[in-house]
Symmetry: C2
Subunit: 206 residues, 2 copies
DNA sequence: CCGATAATTAATAGCCCTATTAAATACTAT
DNA sequence: ATAGTATTTAATAGGGCTATTAATTATCGG
């Protein structure tokens, strides 16, 4: 088939698969769909990736890394603790905005397929373990300075992630409930980003 | 087939379907699976429900109602606003605990199947519209009394739902990240319930 | 240009799933 | 008991999906 621009067929297949996996999940994405999307023969999908399972895994593993990095938030060099936290929450929100369907797909696959849990565990355990402990230390320091109440790193992370993630996981429902159009939803996202920072900061007050 | 206890075969099928839909979602649940689960012939599933789609719809519509009632929270007759809010957050959490896989299935189906959005919209629009406005009024009253900061009802609901829901939607991931066993996760749920109340109440401080 | 290797296609085997049909069995009321 | 209805089963048509194979076309180094 014709190689449009610089992307190889293999890449095109991967990209089409990604789009479809996001849209429909693993089970409802068929190799024939992927081929149609790319405009190539269905056998090609198997030629490059052997099985649909392997194709998914290759997609999945790379996405897990992205998700974990989003989960543990990008660093920042802000002056005080509050500013830093604000930056991190917003950074997390923006990673989600750039990959709005990722959390859902991951939640989905991980909760319906034990194999995926293993894959996730494997990737996650590669993580610098002290990361969580470092956060915990910093929280303890701030608490002893009287800047914030006592809180576990895991709890803080859970709160941030949940507040941020819901806007992308539940968007179709929220649209129905709020009656927002797509444009209005974008504005709503912006408002929620600020709101989430506010909630977290206020909730940490001593 | 043998009618065990008082449940009819039709009910058994519905219950098995429910279990499997929760576990695997619509696409990955097959009428043959359901039949095997019940211990009956696969044709029976079609005898009672004609198609897998209709079976799912009958399950789906009842669950939407449950979800919406959970979303809009059970009432309470607590003295002050804070107590009332606390009760409602906890009630929401408990409904989720009793139906831990429901939000996920709903999110999933609603975001992958346009037909479901319509079903949801239909059910939701049956709702007493003033409900949201009543909450908004109460929030405004409390705000003018200086008890809380200004906040939209939708934002408050979103915050509550997201904090509560994540523990059930993301449980397999959270278990990996935290390293918690199932027992420990139950304890964690209890802690989070309190934590979520705390976060919401603190976040509403003027 | 040619031979070798890579990419692509057509065709199809084989499987599983849904849904239907016709036949068998269980139940119910008279 | 029997006719009539409801329930259940076996068998299967029909369709779609994955994966494989063999054949065809494109690419590239010498």
């Amino acid at each position: 088939m014709i190689h449009e621009k610089d992307s190889t067929t293999e890449q095109q297949i991967l990209e089409a698969a990604e789009r479809l996996f996001y849209e429909r999940g693993f089970a409802m994405t068929h190799t024939t769909d992927i081929a149609r999307e790319v405009g190539c023969n269905q056998a090609l999908v198997h030629y490059y990736f052997r099985t649909k399972e392997k194709l998914f895994e290759s997609f999945f593993e790379r996405k897990i890394s992205l998700f974990i990095s989003a989960f543990l938030l990008a660093g920042s060099d802000a002056a005080n603790f509050e500013e830093k936290l604000k930056c991190k929450i917003e950074a997390h929100f923006e990673i989600l905005r750039a990959n709005p369907r990722l959390p859902f797909l991951l939640f989905n696959e991980i909760s319906t397929n034990p194999k995926r849990v293993e894959a996730f565990k494997a990737k996650f355990s590669q993580l610098p373990r002290p990361m969580m402990e470092k956060i915990n230390e910093e929280l303890q320091q701030e608490a002893s300075k009287g800047n914030i109440r006592k809180v576990e790193a895991l709890d803080l992370l859970l709160s941030i992630v949940s507040l941020n993630v819901i806007m992308f996981i539940a968007s179709p429902i929220i649209k129905v409930v709020s009656g927002a159009t797509d444009q209005e939803y974008d504005k709503m996202l912006e408002r929620r980003k600020k709101e989430n920072v506010l909630i977290i900061l206020k909730s940490l007050k001593p």
